[in-house]
Symmetry: C2
Subunit: 373 residues, 2 copies
């Protein structure tokens, strides 16, 4: 392997694959990046056995390809070295004794390589029928649901996002059993296939860092045990979580005995301030109480003090409600809704309530109340 | 106490005094801010027994003073509440049962107050003969020395910055016994007094966050056990460290058998890159070796690889040097020098070497080499 490349170009792609490496991995080869230079271009590959990331720099974006080859090198060091080299042309050459020499006129790094054969063999093939999703839409699907996944490993399926396709609609759902977030989109292409998979939430966090919101399409290739996202010369593979995702549709009521229409920033800021006088031990509990068109949000920590916030809502009938819930969950749900005015839908103080955009039914945030007596 | 004030004005001053509170303090009263409203204005005061910070908002910057008074309230909550309130007029009123009510048209917080008498009595009086230092100069004095203080409590005097006045010159010195930073300035006013005090480094970090670099003067009032910095309506008190600061002047050689003149960014970037292949366990040791006008900076981690960086220097004679030292110490020292070209002064591979500005002798960075065999 012997080639020259602009520092900017190489660091752009290392920025993608470095996210496939966890430095805490006890298996040294999983801390490595595999570089494969062909006449087509340079492939960079990393994996931590939970995700794999492959990035491709086509030959016409490489300054000079002098000889092809494959090497495996510690990812962290490769990344830090390229990052700190000046923004000029970098030469990378495989030398004797299983080393690579990374050099510019002033700097010369020799890095020991690992055995290419020790690097895991990854099957990053594609299916014939990928699902196509606009990248912006994919980012939204993740951002609007991921916060509701569970962090507790005791029920592994809840640590993932459920991707479900029925009747040409893709629905993403996340729940930790105290709240639920779901977002549904219409797929552009027709598909006969139905789908019901669970993707680990933490892997979707890494994917989201790599997907930019340029207006083009990502391909989803789904296999028995893993899923591949393919976009802009990047291939991102995640394992799937085995198990059956709970059927959450029964949880979501269809009728409500009270609706609020409220300005999103008003209720967000009120709950944000009220949350100052809550604590984790009490699950950040706040109380919401309607009195005609005025809503009072309140909370207290007895030894510190208490707070009352007032805001105006538009109601669909004369019913009133008093309900307690987690300010933290409510703020996370509110951050995901997009419109200036939003809707809160209630069925009584012990029933789950819903936060949604007014015009758009595709996004739904459901929160279970907290019984305070 | 009953007054109205702009949110922006109050949070500006709470930003100062909040730095006098450590939330880890086991004594509850030390987590509090004392607010004293007089007809002259509002005094805010905090202390953690190691530092005390007092800030003053004059009456003409307060929207309305309805009645004066003194209260003591948990600092963290007061700060977070004011920070999250909208940018409008806030009312603060002492109410029955030792509470204050902080309110705007939409929000109402009641905070429990602590007993005013429990708040430590602080003597923040001034001396008749303060030392006057331009604030920018004071910030530089701290920034250019503080990193060389020791973090180990085994020799308390080395955890502070030594302020010494002799012959109308103020010299600040910090050393952890492996490197030394010192900066000297000429005082504007004549003073007969000599001075030799040690101020805790961590307190200077907090001071530095509060001092802005507007072009006006800070007053230093020095007492037996503490020092007061006074500037822009702020009073900052720090305790002093008892003990005798080591006489470091004997450490600093006057003659050198080799001088380099080198571009600061060149040597900084070379050492920064070479430091990638060092580790904490080996004290980040790198080697510098001169060969005529070329300098080679090198380091290695045997299991990972090695690096060589080359740069051009101007030498004052034909001598050469090979010397090993901590890349971390060298980078910190280099960050403090200001000129485009700087000087390195050597006396052999086992003798301390010096980094300084070329034109200006007031700043001196000294580093002890590491014996590598």
């Amino acid at each position: 392997m012997n080639f020259e490349i602009e520092q900017k170009k190489l660091i752009e792609h290392l920025n993608y694959v470095i996210k496939g490496i966890s430095n805490k991995n006890l298996i040294p080869i999983l801390n490595c990046i595999k570089m494969e230079l062909t006449n087509d271009g340079l492939y960079l590959l990393s994996t931590n056995n939970d995700i794999a990331i492959k990035s491709f720099i086509p030959a016409n974006e490489i300054t000079a390809i002098k000889s092809t080859g494959i090497i495996v090198v510690y990812g962290k060091y490769l990344y830090e070295i390229i990052k700190k080299l000046p923004s000029e042309i970098i030469s990378i050459e495989e030398v004797l004794e299983d080393k690579i020499n990374i050099f510019t006129p002033k700097s010369s790094f020799y890095l020991n390589c690992n055995k290419v054969d020790d690097f895991p063999i990854l099957n990053l093939e594609e299916t014939n029928e990928p699902i196509l999703i606009n990248k912006k839409v994919l980012k939204n699907l993740i951002n609007q649901t991921i916060f509701a996944t569970s962090l507790e490993e005791s029920r592994p399926v809840l640590t993932g996002i459920n991707f479900q396709i029925i009747n040409n609609k893709l629905k993403c759902t996340a729940t930790d059993s105290y709240r639920l977030a779901s977002k549904e989109i219409e797929l552009d292409q027709k598909t006969e296939n139905e789908l019901n998979i669970i993707i680990p939430g933490k892997n979707m966090v890494e994917l989201n860092k790599i997907v930019n919101d340029e207006d083009d399409v990502a391909e989803l290739h789904i296999f028995n045990n893993n899923i591949i996202f393919k976009f802009s010369n990047i291939v991102f593979m995640s394992r799937l979580i085995n198990g059956t995702y709970p059927n959450t549709s029964a949880l979501v009521p269809n009728e409500f005995n009270l609706k609020f229409k409220v300005k999103k920033t008003d209720i967000y800021n009120s709950i944000d301030r009220a949350s100052l006088l809550t604590n984790e031990y009490e699950k950040h509990t706040i109380k919401l109480e309607s009195q005609n068109n005025e809503v009072i949000v309140s909370s207290n920590i007895p030894e510190i003090g208490k707070v009352e916030e007032r805001l105006i809502v538009e109601k669909n009938n004369d019913n009133n409600i008093t309900i307690s819930f987690s300010a933290k969950y409510m703020l996370e749900a509110l951050r995901s809704v997009e419109e200036e005015y939003i809707e809160l839908l209630f069925n009584g103080e012990l029933k789950p309530f819903i936060i949604k955009n007014i015009e758009d039914d595709s996004l739904l945030q459901l929160i279970l109340p907290i019984r305070t007596y």
